[in-house]
Structure formats: C-alpha cells, structure tokens
Amino acid sequence: MIFRSSRPAGATRLDPSHRLAAGFVALVLLTGSWLAASPAAAEVLVAGAAARGLFGWEAIGGYERVVGKQLKEVPVDFPLRIEGHFATRDRVTNVVLSTYALARLLVPGFEKSDFNPYLATGPGFHIQGSYSDLGAFGDVLAKGEAALKWHVLAGAILARGARVDIYTEGRYTEPSPYHFDYIALGVRVHAADLSRQR
C-alpha cells in the first residue's frame, strides 16, 4: 500500500520560506540603501488600519524618506516608503512587507494649517507571507508570494506637532479584488535628519 504524507504539494511547512527570506533581505538592502542615501528628513509611521478581507484590521509600521525637495512650482515631492503590515485572526497570521516609490501632491491652500491633505500615487512591491497553525488538526500551513501593484494613497495630517503628527491615510490598490483596501489612523514621528546635522 502506498503511504502518502498528509501534506500535499504547495502546503509544506517551510515552503517557500527560503525564497521569502531571500526576497525580504534583498528588499531591505535595496530600500535601506536608497533611503540611507537620500538627504531629506525621515518619518517613522505607526498606525492601525481598518482593512478589507479576512482580518478586518491591520497594524502598520513604516519608514519614509522624501527623495530630494519639493518641486519649485508644483507642491509635489517623492517619498520612498518601506512598510510592514501585520494581522492575525483565528490562528491565521498575515505579514506583508511593502515598499513604495511615490509621487505625492500636497493639496494647495493648507500650507499654514495644521491640517494637510495629500494625494500620492506610485508603484509598490510587496512580499506577503501567511501562516496558519491548525493545532489539534495536525498541520502548520505557510505560504508566501510577491506582488507588484499600483497604488493611490489619499490622506491627511490631522494634527501637526514638533516631533509627532497624527495622520490618516486610505489606500487604493490596482489590480486587486479589493481596490479600496484599508484606511489607517496613526502617528508620524519625525526622525532625526542626519544630513542636516552635518
């Protein structure tokens, strides 16, 4: 009689962790190099989001630097952002590492206000990993994949502080079954700008 493992192809315990780990390292090195090379101020993002889909929520942590200064005539700048997303429910955990190259339009007319709406768009590359522990049902499932998407972000600084801003942001993703996929509320912490200290 043939004995067959209960774990069919495509649902092995470690698959595809090696590819995922390699992709993660490459992404962090590339993005980190670029971010470290940029001379502008950095911001650390911490947020919670109401998200579409299975979980209904996400925790978000990110790091953003603006490459170069705002254009002279148009209130547009170019943030680069690396972002981690985490959600869990019913023994299923989802982690996404995202990088964005954005063009951000700062809506005119709010320059002297603490409320600063903006629109941003650009590509994002995502490495997604999910993990499920079936416990008493005898298996641990893991799966990862990479995706390239186009995004439109609409957000606003709701309150501006010397070191910390409160912000909100919604994300529209294309192509995706959930086009408008989350709205986040959190804080932006202004990190030290090393280039200005030299």
Binding site: M1, P39, L54, V67, G68, Q128, L134, A136, K143, R196
Partner: protein
C-alpha cells in the same frame, strides 16, 4: 546642484556621492513609467490584506468519492479503491468525501471513514484556502474500530471555493481537497 541636495549633504551617506544621488532622483519618475507595463502582468487575485492562498483544489489531493447512499448507513468497502485521481489514505483508514466537487445547490458534503485500528480520538475540520478553520466537524470524538462514521458538512452559507478537510486520529493523519462550486 539638484533640488534637495544640500551642500555636503551627500557626505552623510554610505553608498553614493551627489552625482549618483542626483541620478537616482531623476530616475524616480522614469521608474514610474517602467513599472506601469509590468503591472499588466500582475496577478489580480493577490490581495494585500488577505492571506496568500495556501492551496487550490487538486483532484489528486482529494479523497475517494465512494460514500454510501444518503440517509442510510455508510458503506465503505474494507479498503475502497481510490478513484483514479484521489489521495490514498494511510493504512488502517478508509475515507471518502461526497460529492466532490460539490455542484451548486448541494446541501452538504458527507465525509465517511472507517478505522481498522484503535485510536484514542478523531478530529476532523474543514479549512479554507486562506488557512482558516471554517468548521470543526469532529473534535476528540471516539471512533470505534471497524464501524463506519459519517460527518456532514452543511454548505448553507458557505462561499464557493477551495477547501481542505483535515483528519487526525492518533498517528493517522490525512487531508483531502474539497471544492464547493
């Protein structure tokens, strides 16, 4: 000097000087244009807020479809020959799921099994392709050796898609793909 590159600012960086940095800034808008065609090859099904699909229905990973008649006692042959495209269960276990795939309007999927070995208890659960347990059919249930046991998965309110049934009885462990159409 390029916008945003202050005099001496580049010295704080580890990898590039001002010229390279300037080129990076100029490349950013080009990156946007280069990425656009790549998006046409993207997988629309990948959501960034749902778990990656852990499996999809594969007939070779489905159990046999040799259940007994509905409403009557299940009749599984002592070791039913699996259908050509089905996963053989481990020795000591005969198991089947019917109907599979389940056509639209199917009220329930019946999972029948018989153990030819003694086991402390039996667990049976249905997992969706995101890895979420959607229904526990049996949890630490006693399963007398040699008797046929039937568990029904009611499909009312179940979203069509790919599922997997996980069966665990002592050291006997198997899973079978199920599709709800």
């Amino acid at each position: 000097m390029l916008p945003g590159v202050k005099n001496g600012a580049w010295r704080g960086t580890f990898f590039v000087g001002p010229n390279v940095l300037g080129r990076l800034q100029l490349l950013l808008p080009l990156l946007f244009l280069l990425v656009l065609p790549l998006l046409t090859a993207c997988d629309e099904d990948v959501t960034l807020v749902d778990p990656a699909p852990i499996f999809s229905f594969d007939p070779e990973n489905a159990w046999a479809t040799t259940c007994g008649p509905p409403g009557g006692p299940g009749k599984i042959a002592s070791q039913p020959a699996p259908t050509p495209a089905s996963v053989p269960p481990p020795p000591g276990l005969a198991i089947s799921a019917c109907p599979n795939p389940a056509p639209p309007g199917t009220p329930e999927i019946t999972i029948e099994f018989r153990l030819d070995v003694r086991v402390p208890s039996v667990n049976l659960a249905i997992v969706n392709s995101s890895g979420q347990i959607v229904q526990v059919l049996l949890m630490d249930e006693a399963a007398p050796m040699g008797s046929t046991i039937r568990a029904s998965w009611l499909l009312e309110g179940i979203t069509p898609g790919d599922y997997r049934a996980y069966f665990l009885a002592g050291s006997l462990e198997t899973s079978g793909d199920i599709q709800v159409q």
